[in-house]
Amino acid sequence: MNEIRPLVRLNPGEEILFMIRRHLFVFYARLISLVVLFFIPLFFAVLLIRFFENVYDGLSGGLLFGFFYMLWLIVLWFIFFLRWTDYYLDVWIVTNMRVIDIEHKGIFNSEVSTFRLEEVRDVTVEMKGVVAAFLKFGTVTIHTAGEGVDFIIKDAAHPLELKESLLRAQGALLEKHPSSTV
């Protein structure tokens, strides 16, 4: 656990209860553009092969098309992993003491914010649209005792279960330390 210290410092006695991410549907929806870009050169294969045969005298147009297509795939492969990592590393970690929100903005910028479970005043779940209702994802807003500070996780998977688990963890903490209410 030493390696994660710069990112998340767990206090003595603190345990990770669960981690929440956005619903996978959101990730898949962002991949549609990549799938389109994957197929576009194939639709123009015949034209491109002729073009390469004209431009590169004496070289096989088909093999050159394959070469350029591989380079194209390397670019798409990179974008795919950037998107996957962005999806996967945006996470909420709920411990038995607090909630840690790790959010990535771009590749190198990340924001880590935390709030203690005792500070939770109310949890609101909003599921908009047929797809969200059917696949069970939505926006969870946690109202805290701080000055108008709300924590929002958009497109969270299983938001109702998340709400219940959060309130259960808060209840367990308050039972253990009744004096810690804000």
């Binding site: 656990m1 030493n2 390696e3 994660i4 210290r5 710069p6 990112l7 998340v8 981690m19 431009v55 590169y56 005298d57 070289l59 096989s60 093999l63 050159l64 394959g66 070469f67 591989m70 380079l71 795939l73 390397i74 492969w77 990179f78 992993f81 996957w84 990592t85 996967y88 590393l89 590749i107 190198f108």
Partner: protein, 74 residues
Amino acid sequence: MFELDGIASSLTSTKALWWLWALFAVGFILLSAVLTYHWRPYYALDPHVKATRLVHHIGGSVLLIIAAALLFFA
């Protein structure tokens, strides 16, 4: 005009294609190394991140090798 023809012919030579391949290879390796170092703190948090980086490296390397083979036989 003569110079433009010279530039065009050098850009369309096999050597230029190998330079392009090298550019992609170096770019891929450098960017992967930087990102791997940057995301190191997450490896302990979740082993899936490390596994994904490995898949990324292997996939990218395979694509680079296939590209080199296609250019070699072209």
